[in-house]
Symmetry: C2
Subunit: 134 residues, 2 copies
């Protein structure tokens, strides 16, 4: 019984081959959008339907196994839920890097200033990565 099977079961989802393949690819890429996921998965899984991908992305997100990351000027990507982190996006090569950013001070200050109960913080920094800087 592989890791992805365990992950799925822990999130109350049946471990179908399609689902395992989806998680496998997302895990290997780190972040991937629907189109590339579909393209990529068809190598392993010629018969898979796009509807199955959509349904599963949806179910797995509901069950907190996957997270949608919205990006400026790009299609959303999906990642496996892990600890809190932010994203660095290169507008040139479109690579995405997970970064650790301490946003506690910001959250605390805004939270008290506006009497707002913050439970999520989405930060995307974008620009040009090392490799793409001419």
């Amino acid at each position: 019984m592989n890791n992805y099977t365990i992950m799925l079961r822990e999130h109350n989802l049946k471990a179908t081959p399609q689902r395992i393949a989806i998680i496998d690819i997302i895990d290997k890429y780190g972040h991937i959008n629907i189109d590339k996921l579909y393209e990529s998965i068809k190598n392993k899984f010629e018969s898979i339907s796009l509807a199955t991908i959509y349904k599963n992305i949806h179910t797995m997100s509901e069950n907190l196994l996957l997270l949608e990351v919205k990006l400026p000027n790009e299609k959303s990507v999906y990642e496996i839920v892990k600890g809190k982190h932010s994203h660095l996006l290169c507008n040139s090569c479109h690579s995405i890097i997970d970064i650790e950013v301490d946003t506690n001070m910001i959250e605390n200050s805004i939270s008290s200033k506006y009497s707002f109960n913050i439970d999520q913080s989405d930060l995307v920094l974008s620009g040009r990565c090392k490799n793409c800087l001419t």
Copy 2:
């Protein structure tokens, strides 16, 4: 000659009544998504077409008069380009508040750590606002 006319001209756009109405509404709401914009604008402008809205949102964004703001679990909203700021989103009443957050330290530290040239920083804090906290 009203303010919106001036704004449009400054961004090299003809000041049509449709465009003025679009900016007027976005300005009054602060942030609005396409559907609500369309609904809202039809009060002033019964004949306007959704295609006109899409075309103009696109053109005005290209010309840096409007900015699309992507939000977790919500449709994107559009706002008039103004100084750098972040957003507070209430998951309950869906209101959005502009906030001033100093992200310079974060940007500098990430920028040097990854040799990354950051030119944009999108931060959305979400949770429950004052009014929605029971």
